[in-house]
Point group: C2
Chain length 346, copies 2
């Protein structure tokens, strides 16, 4: 197969990190990436070159292009942490060679050759050959969200309480998590901002759905906390509302921050609760979880994710699949729509 | 020995907890306790009755009388968590009987018969018979501060980094902690609010002393953090300044809140650090530490504290010893003076 020398890709405008405070909402894409031409990369010995079919846009991608993610940007390189595609070239190692010709889900990790491009680079060991029943849009979102969902559900299970709290609960990630949790008898308390999300989330597995904009939110929150006694608070939002939820939680509550949709200052409303109620604030980062977990655990989780997509227990709600050439213009508007996922196709 | 039927004591004005936000500064004592008469209590089988010589005033007492501590107030009962005195009566159990006639340091714990009184009740098992070399003012402050200091120093040692950060560093507690830390080669970074505290804290064991009111505080803080890489932040203050210090700390920093001098809102200035730098916020409460630690550990720590006071490695800086009858009028003014401890004597 002959590869072209150059390709189209969404290239990072800036290097390193940003010092600007901002949330995970993509108000404008052209400030962060530019459509351009770049040479098609060559895979290293343990890597594969993937012809991208569909690439996902995750909240972590938005944070990354803004310079607010835990690894530095490299100006002029393609963005995009995951996608689905076909392996068209591979490094010398057998594990890489074995993948040539296969349809795979892939993470780009720290390769600096992201998935928002015609071709991307991935470590062979991290690629997942896809079974025939898996749709491209499911495969393109097979890694970041499912791994995060199952890893965080693992934290809930270790803590032992059946009930737990989720903000930004209408996200794909939370829907996957709630589905898995309900199967095992857990009771997600979903926090959302709109009434029309309530039936949707009840269907997705929530035991309670609370709307933060309802006038009786504080009362309802207090009642649900009292009845359910959740310990784990999985928070993608931060800001004053997250602080309010944490303050309403019972003894030994753990506020686990994994995203930051709200750029407002995040308060600890009652620091005395840290002392006398043994509450804690901590963070979750998939990269760190992967570093700290044994490789078998990752493989097991990825297998479980694929099975769930094939047998229909999980599915990806697609808001839009946007062509690469139109991404800068169209993605922010599509991302602003609630409840679904946006993809890019080269 | 004949005991009087009634005694003088500082009695709590209110029940339960307060819903008012407030710090650990005692702006006025009469709002919280009133000098009055009450019957002399009778010790239970495992308890002793102590004729109080000197009672301590700790920040935890101030939080307690304000209704901001982790256990509820009982209206009309005496306040005061620790003191020194002579055992004048005891319950039937041998461990209690053995203490009769002895001079002891005692915690009142949850007996509801505090030390700011002519007589107090303590659990025999928690009392410490004092050697002759120990002064009354050292004995009266033998339990809460030394145990907290050594328990928190234990957290620093477990974490492994030599440097650690302390706010309200001119407190008795911090001076004890820094003295113990310096002996073992640890490097306390002391945060204070006045230049005249700098030589004092250098003498007490601080490797660095930073004044938060200095115009170059942020710069100095950044430099010291870079050079020393502290992981543990022992914070008695909270509020925006504590948030600023935590944000300046390196990866895997743990903000351990054990007091709340500043009633201002406490922010987490960079929630992204919880995700990408694995930072955490938690609390320390001596009561919880005692509950979770094996009894041998408590005995060992108390023995070590007494040795340190006898051999002069530790000493208590006394600001004032105020008669019980004058406490309501005089204690707030004496507590407002920096660097020393205030005691009450019946």
């Amino acid at each position: 197969m002959t590869l072209p020398p150059r390709m189209r890709a969404l290239l990072l405008n800036d290097d390193g990190y940003s010092s600007k405070s901002s949330g995970a909402l993509l108000e404008d894409m052209g400030s962060y990436v530019t459509l351009g031409d770049i040479e098609v990369p060559e895979p290293g010995p343990s890597q594969v070159l993937v012809k991208v079919s569909v690439a996902a846009i995750n909240p972590s991608d938005v944070m990354f292009v803004k310079g607010l993610y835990g690894q530095p940007r490299q100006k002029g390189q393609p963005a995009g942490f995951e996608g689905v595609g076909t392996v068209v070239a591979a490094g010398a190692e057998p594990a890489a060679q074995r993948l040539v010709g296969q349809r795979i889900a892939f993470p780009t990790g720290r390769s600096n050759w992201g998935s928002w491009a015609e071709y991307a680079i991935a470590e062979a060991a991290a690629c997942i050959p896809l079974m025939d029943g898996v749709k491209d849009t499911d495969g393109a979102a097979m890694i970041v969200n499912p791994l995060t969902a199952l890893a965080m559900f693992g934290i809930v299970k270790e803590e032992g309480e059946k009930a737990f709290v989720l903000t930004a609960a209408a996200s794909q990630l939370c829907k996957l998590l709630m589905g898995a949790a309900r199967e095992e008898g857990y009771r997600p308390i979903a926090i959302v901002r709109r009434d029309d999300q309530i039936p949707l989330l009840e269907a997705a597995g929530a035991a309670h759905v609370l709307n933060t904009t309802a006038p009786d939110f504080a009362d309802k929150l207090a009642k649900v906390m009292k009845a359910e006694q959740p310990r784990i608070f999985l928070d993608a939002v931060t800001g004053p509302l997250a602080g309010q939820i944490f303050a309403a939680m019972p003894k030994r509550a753990r506020w686990i921050i994994y995203g930051r949709l709200d750029p407002e200052t995040t308060p600890i409303p009652e620091p005395g609760q840290m002392i006398f109620m043994h509450k804690r604030v901590e963070g979750f980062w998939l990269t760190e979880w992967l570093r700290a977990s044994p490789p078998e655990r990752r493989v097991e989780v990825v297998k479980e994710a694929q099975k769930r997509f094939i047998d229909g227990r999980w599915s990806t709600d697609v808001t839009a699949v946007v062509p690469l050439e139109e991404a800068v213009a169209k993605v922010p508007g599509e991302l602003a729509k609630p409840n679904g996922k946006v993809f890019i196709t080269p």
